[in-house]
Assembly symmetry: C2
Homo-oligomer: 222 residues x 2
């Protein structure tokens, strides 16, 4: 049996448990025995419903990818506002929310963050279906802020600076708890983080725009 044949009870339970375990310990360290114990299912069930471990991981990835992007689309609240700095803020908040969220069954955040730094064979799919469109949107916003005549390389550097900040706040938890016990940057601080990254990056971008060749006038300035 390939995959989405039935919507059996155990199949759903396995998807849920697999998402949790995969997000917690990663693909290779996750054992199907753990997953099945968590799901209250037999070990053979995973082979029956999904084929093998790889296909299970793929199914989980695609499933929660759909959920996460339906809940937090990259252009969340971007269309209606004109000002590029508002677009940037909206993008950052959406991105942060998507990768920070791990309360309700949207393990996609952790899975995605994990694939970013420790890519598996499934990474190519994620790049094409998730990362590329999202990154593309960001580069457009960045280019709009810097100025239309900006070099592509610089736009990419700046975009990566922004993504890098978001991602780092995502998996800085182990570091932070050890460096400053009591501090934390989690789902609860998305608003604060959005403000900080937006503000910090916006002024970096503006400076970058002025650096290239003189920008005429961007409202702000000095």
């Amino acid at each position: 049996m390939e995959d989405k044949k039935t919507s059996s009870k155990t199949r759903a339970a396995i998807m849920e448990a697999a998402g949790k375990v995969f997000a917690e310990v990663g693909y290779s360290k996750a054992t199907i025995r753990d997953i099945c114990r968590e799901a209250g299912a037999n070990i053979a069930a995973i082979n029956y419903h999904f084929g093998d471990k790889k296909s299970l991981y793929l199914a989980v990835l695609k499933h929660y990818q759909e959920i996460a992007f339906k809940a937090y689309p990259p252009d969340l609240g971007i269309k209606e506002t004109q000002k590029p700095e508002e677009k940037l803020r909206a993008y950052i908040r959406s991105f942060l929310t998507r990768i920070m969220d791990d309360v309700h069954p949207a393990w996609f955040g952790r899975l995605l963050a994990r694939e970013f730094t420790e890519p598996t064979w499934a990474f190519d799919i994620l790049v094409e279906e998730t990362i590329r469109p999202s990154f593309q949107l960001l580069t457009e916003i960045v280019a709009e802020i810097i100025g239309k005549n900006s070099k592509e390389r610089i736009v990419r550097l700046c975009s990566m600076s922004i993504v890098g900040q978001c991602l780092y706040f995502r998996h800085s938890h182990p570091v932070i708890t050890r460096l400053y016990p009591g501090e934390s940057f989690g789902f609860k601080h998305i608003k604060e983080l959005t403000e900080h990254i937006s503000f910090f990056s916006l002024h970096g971008l503006i400076a970058e725009g002025k650096n290239k060749h003189s920008e005429e006038n961007k409202c702000k300035k000095r």
Copy 2:
């Protein structure tokens, strides 16, 4: 046998090979059989010379930590210059160099970058002996730029923004090669990356400093 008894030939070969393999695939995925094949040693040699896999990893970590920090100390060229923006640039360059370097046998960069996002049991050691002093130095530089009366929380946020950028350029390789084949950000581009991150962050910091008290002449905001 505990550890640094002898300086046998095979012991050194194992250290070298282990560093390479650990850096390549991570602790848990690295097999002692791979390491020993790479080192041209017998499988039992690792038990004989180091005790077990964990002790080997620890020995490798401590060894290359020493090497990397001797080669690229965090305060490289900071002392003599007064201007805080020069300090920031020096710090970023040193940090980048340390984590980017993976040509000569200093696998520490990759190992460190890996521990940052996928901490093992050895992470506590790294935090105390490596990360804390380095991060402490960064927060001091950041605080100097923002202004003395800045909130600690903001200083930490900004410091993490800087570290996050550096780290992301470190393991963005899998993403970049897929998004833009031909582009790359590696050891060869440390100068360019240093300039970009320094410039980008400096203006973020300055703005953050001005944001504290005076707010009126901000044009943006709301």
